[in-house]
């Protein structure tokens, strides 16, 4: 698979493409990182997190004008995370050049690396979200997760006009709140 093809698939939120990247680069990633003498469990965790960053940054358009290969970018993320892990653990950090990420990319890397999963309330939100009808799940996910604008949603999902989409979204948020409230009491 070429890098362009891969980036296109990631932008389409194709998670199976991530599986391919995982299988294709895992051995090499571990080899590449072996000189820093990190624990295998830590490395596995970092490799998986790095793939998530790759996935999210592809969607954010950060890979559209990528000057290196995807592999270099991915390994750069891994190195950045590992050094951060060392710093946090007060371990001596190798002084080495790392891939140059912009502020936005760094923020994503740190956020993903420190993400400890959804809390109880967030889990409850997702559980109740799944109980909504298909139309509601679709519009909420497109707007809040995929970052689509209401104008785009109106066009691609066949709403008559923006106001229809807007009030549909508003109704869905209300239903979700009611579901969460119901399961609270």
């Amino acid at each position: 698979m070429t890098d362009e093809h891969l980036i296109a698939q990631l932008k389409q939120r194709d998670r199976n493409a991530l599986k391919t990247v995982y299988l294709d680069y895992k051995t090499e990633f571990f080899k590449f990182m072996s000189r820093y003498k990190a624990d295998a469990i830590v490395l596995e965790d970092i490799f998986q997190d790095a793939l998530i960053v790759l996935y999210e940054n592809a969607q954010n358009g950060k890979l559209d004008a990528l000057k290196s290969t995807v592999k270099t970018y991915l390994f750069g993320i891994g190195k950045f995370m590992l050094f951060k892990h060392f710093r946090d653990g007060k371990k001596e950090v190798p002084t080495e050049e790392t891939y140059l990420f912009d502020k936005y990319e760094q923020a994503v890397i740190e956020e993903v690396h420190e993400d400890e999963g959804p809390n109880e309330y967030q889990k409850k939100m997702v559980t109740n979200f799944k109980k909504l009808g298909e139309k509601c799940r679709e519009i909420l996910e497109l707007f809040y997760l995929q970052g689509m604008k209401l104008d785009e949603i109106t066009q691609t999902q066949g709403y008559d006009n923006k106001d229809v989409a807007k009030s549909q979204k508003s109704r869905c948020l209300k239903s979700l709140k009611q579901l969460i409230g119901k399961n609270n009491g």
Binding site: L18, E44, L51, D115, P118, Q122, M125, L145, L173, L176
Partner: protein
């Protein structure tokens, strides 16, 4: 701009300077407005964190499958080696005493060939199978090879995952169609597929089954030199062939 539109534009990142000021002002003074924004932000976070968790789970499963296969290969290997030696001694003796014909490639093939585990596409049984890939690998795992072949052929047209070529070749071998399996394995190896060493082993076996001993030996030598997957089995098989 009404409050709802203001909030929507905030999430769309399209607020102008003045509107942003208005938004921030409302966040401070209008508690209903603020709690609505907080709810929607929380929903956004929940989505994101949930997606990350799902991806980690998917990759974690892949890691488990990988490790399982490694141990399986490792634990089967001594047994397989012992079995193939026993068989070879038997076959060898039989040949010495009763015939002068060449090596029995069929026997050697049968004692060495086993379909490779599905390590690329974990199947969750019980889930509705929506895509062809799920169906193909389920058929593969179930040993329904003619069905698997049909589905893999279809996948080849629609997808670019290189490992599909590899698994299609294994299916062809199962169906005793080595003529078609060989070019697929060769192509997969040439394209530097992730399971390249595995493919080399299967290529050696396909050549063996076709009675192309020299070709088979070439592939086995590669495995012995690489000192990795199936190195021991390859060495033993090579000794037999020589």
């Amino acid at each position: 701009m009404d409050k709802e539109t203001l909030i929507n534009s905030y999430f769309e990142n399209s607020l102008g300077k003045d509107q942003l000021k208005e938004f921030e002002q409302l966040m401070k003074t209008d508690s209903e407005f603020a709690s609505e924004v907080d709810f929607q932000k929380e929903l956004q976070h929940s989505f994101k964190k949930n997606e990350r968790q799902e991806i980690k789970q998917m990759l974690g499963d892949l890691n488990i499958v990988e490790n399982d296969t490694e141990t399986k290969v490792f634990s089967i290997r001594p047994w397989l080696a012992a079995a193939s030696i026993a068989l070879l001694v038997g076959v060898g003796t039989w040949m010495l005493f009763f015939t002068n014909t060449d090596i029995n490639t069929n026997q050697l093939y049968a004692s060495n060939f086993a379909p490779y585990d599905n390590v690329v596409h974990p199947i969750e049984r019980g889930n509705a199978m929506i895509n062809i890939k799920d169906k193909a690998f389920t058929a593969y795992e179930d040993g329904d090879y003619s069905m698997a072949l049909k589905l893999f052929k279809q996948l080849q047209i629609e997808q670019t995952d290189p490992y599909i070529t590899f698994y299609e070749a294994i299916v062809l071998m199962q169906l005793n169609n080595h003529q078609d399996a060989i070019p697929l394995l060769k192509a997969y190896i040439e394209n530097d597929g992730q399971l390249k060493d595995r493919a080399t082993w299967y290529l050696a076996l396909s050549h063996l089954k076709m009675d192309e001993i020299e070709n088979s030996k070439t592939q086995l030598k590669k495995l012995v030199d690489q000192d990795g997957f199936k190195m021991k089995a390859a060495r033993e098989l090579l000794e037999e062939l020589e």
